[in-house]
Symmetry: D2
Subunit: 114 residues, 4 copies
């Protein structure tokens, strides 16, 4: 998703300003929630058929919100020393078992969460 | 954050089941909001001093929530053809200008959002 | 929305258990965010045309989520001694000016937030 | 919480502008999520000891966010014909059984959600 080099720059940005003190798992989780709210705000009242139009009109803004989410996730993963790659693999494996292709293909009923 | 290989597996997981139909920028944004809520739920009522304890007790659960967020972000970025690396760089540049080190170092007043 | 009598019972429930200590404006705001996430989860992946079906199928669950939101709001308003009635009036006045009927009627462009 | 008279004014505000078309259980739930995010944003990075200070400094803004939440809840409850009073009573009864006073008093372990 983002390069190791960019991740190092993000960590340096934070330490240069002595801002690690404001980041705990909790404050980062709150911030992720706030940013997710800002992302969904772009699609708040619009009908589903207008989603693509909003996407093309607001690409830069959406990219900016997504950047915020990615940055916060980067700090969270780093600070808790999480193995994100491993956690995603585990989740993928779990979902592959939960939703075998033959039973799940195209089915709205089976589609709960990914 | 996650490897190109893992991203391809995530995309294949979705297409194998013909589930792209359920993913729009909007539904993915909603899902990101839901997952962020699940992450913060772990820290809901606990005092700040207990955050580290919760983190060590629930590492696997937290990793799982973060995996969900990373997966959704992966789909969002892919589907909207966003340049995530570029968007994060832009955000970093913007923040470096907004918060020059000499003015921002250690200051809670200047610390609004990252 | 909810009666003064019910509000008193909610406050008594909390004080009987000596649980005010867990409620700050912040923890209550976090909880509101978590509960809002649980509400939207019911509508996460479904197409707009299926919303009514979900509503009729899950009325009790939805009522339960809404109850959680109303309870948290009750504590928040009480603890901060907010004049909710007055704040809603002010917001209504503001919106009536922002969106005069002749300019706003039926218009998606004008409809941002309520 | 808010008077029947004010609720009627809120409903009239919406119908005068022919805006019911933008409100479904889903869009209202999304909006509640967005507003909850805006509320928690006020407390995002601040340490717990500064919460009271933020509350006294930003009373009007906080009242405004809470008003938004109350307004959306009002529409949601009205549109789904929910018995909010009844749902809150049920939730209170459930919690009174789940958390008997003698076992729950002052206990952080028992305090999960209210």
């Amino acid at each position: 998703m983002i390069s190791a080099e960019l991740r190092e720059r993000l960590l340096k940005f934070r330490s240069d300003r002595d801002w690690e003190q404001f980041h705990s798992a909790r404050t980062l989780a709150i911030a992720l929630s706030v940013e997710a709210g800002e992302l969904i705000e772009h699609f708040q009242w619009i009908p589903e058929q207008d989603v693509d139009h909003v996407v093309s009109e607001r690409r830069d803004e959406l990219a900016s919100e997504v950047a915020d989410l990615a940055i916060l996730l980067t700090y969270f993963v780093h600070d808790l020393s999480l193995d994100l790659e491993g956690a995603v693999r585990d989740k993928l494996l779990l979902n592959e078992q939960k939703y075998p292709i033959d039973k799940s293909k195209g089915s709205a009923k089976k589609y709960s969460r990914l």
